[in-house]
């Protein structure tokens, strides 16, 4: 049969990776003898003046050109309204086309999707490959569908959910990318990567399933908590193909928790190293899985980063959410990775129902401290109860969360009609009905998410100092700033992709505002915050300027710039890293010198202010030594 697989617009990012679930499904169906095409509207709308208005016509064109018998629509949670519209559009084009829904949202709420969307003929619950192929087989033979595992269909006007008959052995899935080369133009995705990007990255599936039972997680139950991996040879074949054909050299291994099986990770690392392919990769990991001894092998095989869900600094919440991570383990793992030159992304979930502002303050401070210990990216996400997460069935009092919707919507603007449609169906759009939390209002939680994710990226030292000095009051005092000055907006922060300045312009006045609203800080404590902020602003300017930006510097040369800091910045970093107390002796004038040490590498140094005359007149500070 002719099958058109489509996904609606997904994000505002200009760099796009091929849709993994659709591509894997396409490979499976092609191997079963079907003719498949992928219409990725997320890619197709990039660069168009009005993505929100453009995507329906693009699908219409694809349906007209390909004349499919079946259209499969995938839905993440943030673009399900658009996915729903696509099914209507397909039926408007040709009512005889069969529509099938799957993916994170339709696949988690298959029966509910059929009830809500009359133009959706079938939905597949959970893993889609086998069920989709069986459905095509039944449709082509004119056979019934009541015995197709996982399929949700209509009978007597009602949605009927067929039971599952287990999960695929992932060894049966072929190496995806060579198989789908005629139905998706991977080169077009590769061309969305900016010239000069540090690496050319793409998502590839390494496997599925995590055996842990975190209460907020929808992915682990979606894959039925069964850890499965693709054979190393298959994964390596995909990597080789994507590298050799399209120049990809950064591979994000998609797996809920790849490092559960250390032997697999070791085998994979050995295979990549032996392949001599000049590639790098990252994967999901947990801080309580001990990879010491294996990490150097992973590093030698190109592992550049690991992703962690840290979730919270609170031991009470760790226990409550069934995550169970301990702070010492988190700190030692992130530090160990940084020492090996492996970056880490640390993700936190904020806004658990009985989370207190004090606990949230500790979590934000921990995020900043992890950044100082070498974490690459620290991000905060508002707790949402996406089905089938255990918390989605807990009956928590929840409310429509427009602020969260605005942060994740596939378009920068959320039209009123879309807001109304989503707000009107709390059962289907459960993910946008966030639980109430003692940590703050909905708007405040959205501000914490945005402000501190960007803030820790640009000014971790400042935020770590603020957290240390204000303790459990960090978040309440931040709310006072938002009350006084208003919150930051996604539109402003994302105004110039790739540039730190729009975010800094939003953050900096509010950091100053925070300081102004702290009557209880002692004078030296205020100096510490001001000193940290000044240092980080200088660092931003030095690193992001073409040549040395000399404005406001005490002295400068061709590869360096110096300013007088009111704070001993080197000692401040050390104290925050070691956990030692911040004391008034940190407030003393030091000269801070930024040096460009390579084309894209920078260093920062301190020395006594009395060295300023010695510095002046030197064009360069980097000098080769007799090694």
């Amino acid at each position: 049969m002719r099958v058109l697989l489509t996904q609606p617009p997904l994000s505002t990012n200009l760099e796009v990776s091929p849709p993994l679930g659709l591509s894997t499904l396409a490979a499976w169906l092609i191997r079963k003898g079907h003719e498949v095409s992928i219409c990725d509207l997320d890619l197709a709308v990039k660069g168009l003046p009005s993505p929100r208005e453009s995507y329906p016509a693009l699908l219409e064109g694809a349906v007209r050109d390909f004349a499919p018998h079946v259209v499969g629509v995938t839905s993440m949670f943030n673009n399900s309204l658009q996915a729903e519209r696509l099914t209507r559009l397909v039926k408007d084009c040709d009512d005889s086309i069969v529509t099938v829904g799957g993916g994170s949202h339709f696949g988690a709420l298959a029966a509910r999707s059929l009830r809500r969307i009359p133009t959706l003929d079938y939905a597949i619950e959970g893993e889609g490959e086998a069920a989709f192929a069986s459905l095509l087989d039944a449709l082509s033979r004119g056979a019934g569908v009541t015995d197709i595992p996982r399929l949700c269909h209509r009978a007597d006007g009602e949605g009927r959910q067929n039971s599952s008959d287990g999960l695929l052995d992932l060894a049966q899935i072929p190496a995806v990318w060579p198989v789908v080369k005629d139905c998706i133009d991977v080169g077009r995705y590769a061309r969305t990567i900016p010239a000069g990007a540090a690496r050319r990255t793409i998502y590839v599936e390494a496997g599925r399933g995590c055996p842990f039972s975190c209460s907020f997680c929808a992915t682990a139950p979606f894959w039925e908590r069964r850890y499965r991996v693709k054979p190393v040879t298959t994964l390596l074949e995909e990597i080789r193909y994507l590298h050799e054909e399209f120049g990809y050299n950064g591979f994000m291994f998609v797996h809920d928790l790849l490092t559960v099986d250390k032997n697999y990770v070791e085998e994979l690392s050995e295979a990549i190293r032996e392949s001599r392919l000049p590639i790098e990769w990252m994967a999901n990991h947990r801080t309580d899985i001990d990879l010491r001894g294996l990490l150097p092998k992973m590093k030698a095989a190109g592992c550049w980063a690991m992703f962690f869900g840290i979730e919270s600094a609170s031991a009470r919440l760790q226990k409550q959410m069934l995550k169970g991570l301990k702070r010492e383990g988190v700190v030692s793992t992130i530090t160990g990775l940084a020492n090996l030159g492996i970056a880490s992304t640390c993700s936190f979930v904020i806004g658990f129902p009985d989370e207190t502002p004090e606990e949230l303050s500790a979590t934000v401070t921990m995020g900043a401290e992890l950044k100082l210990l070498g974490a690459g990216i620290v991000q905060f996400h508002r707790l949402r109860t996406w089905p089938p997460a255990p918390l989605s069935r807990a009956g928590l009092p929840a409310r429509f969360d427009l602020d969260s919707l605005r942060i994740e919507y596939p378009f920068l603007e959320v039209p009123d009609a879309d807001v109304s449609a989503i707000e009107a169906d709390p059962e289907f759009f459960a993910g946008y009905f966030a639980p109430h939390t003692a940590a703050g209002t909905f708007a405040q939680m959205a501000q914490v998410e945005m402000f501190f994710t960007h803030g820790i990226h640009l000014a971790p030292l400042t935020i770590a100092v603020m957290g240390r000095l204000s303790g459990g009051n960090l978040v309440p005092t931040f709310y006072a700033v938002v009350d006084r000055m208003g919150g930051i907006s996604r539109k402003e922060v994302e105004a110039e992709p790739g540039s730190p300045w729009p975010a800094w312009r939003e953050l900096h006045p509010r950091l100053e505002g925070w300081l102004a609203l702290q009557p209880n800080l002692e004078e030296w404590q205020g100096e510490l915050v001001r000193g940290a902020m000044a240092y980080e602003q200088r660092r931003l300017r030095f690193v992001n300027s073409q040549g040395v930006d000399r404005e406001g510097l005490a002295a400068s040369g061709e590869d360096w710039g110096a300013f007088i800091s009111p704070v001993d910045i080197a000692a401040l970093f050390d104290r925050l890293r070691t956990g030692d107390a911040l004391t008034s002796d940190l407030v003393r004038e030091w000269l801070v010198v930024f040096v460009q040490e390579g084309s894209n590498s920078f260093g920062a140094y301190t020395t006594g202010v009395e060295k300023l005359p010695d510095l002046r007149g030197r064009p360069f500070l980097v000098e080769p030594s007799a090694a």
Binding site: A570, S601, G603, R618
Partner: protein, 125 residues
């Protein structure tokens, strides 16, 4: 996975050095760059300290290597480019700017398996 461990230096060497290395070193001290494309920090390994060499990918004229060390071997960490020495400059360990890496790592390979592990490295293309 074996619980016995071997020490190793992980880093990068110029392609031509990698080709000459083979699986047991090239009989001379080996200088391994800690970061790809950056010779600011290197680890100098005496010839007699090398138990075996595993070769990784080549990129931009450099080959990734894992240099497995003999027991109780010592190596030398060297900074090849200095910042003016007379200014008493002290590095600020700001992770936003620099990454300090230890020169030696521990890997889970029992020493007696090193020759077998590196056996296929004798035919470096």
């Amino acid at each position: 996975m074996s619980t016995k461990t071997t020490h190793a230096v992980i880093g990068y060497v110029p392609d031509e050095v990698a080709k000459a290395l083979g699986s047991e070193g090239h009989g001379r001290a080996l200088e391994v760059r800690v970061e790809r494309g950056n010779d600011r920090e290197i680890v100098r390994i005496p010839a007699g300290a090398i138990a075996g060499v595993l070769h990784g990918a080549s990129q931009g004229g450099e080959t990734g290597v894992q240099v497995l060390l003999k027991e109780r071997a010592t190596v030398e960490a060297v900074t090849t480019h200095g910042i003016a020495g007379d200014l008493d400059l002290k590095a600020i360990l700001d992770p936003g700017l620099i990454h300090r890496k230890p020169p030696i790592n521990v890997i889970f390979v029992a020493p007696e398996f090193v020759p077998r592990l590196t056996a296929d490295q004798s035919k470096i293309s």
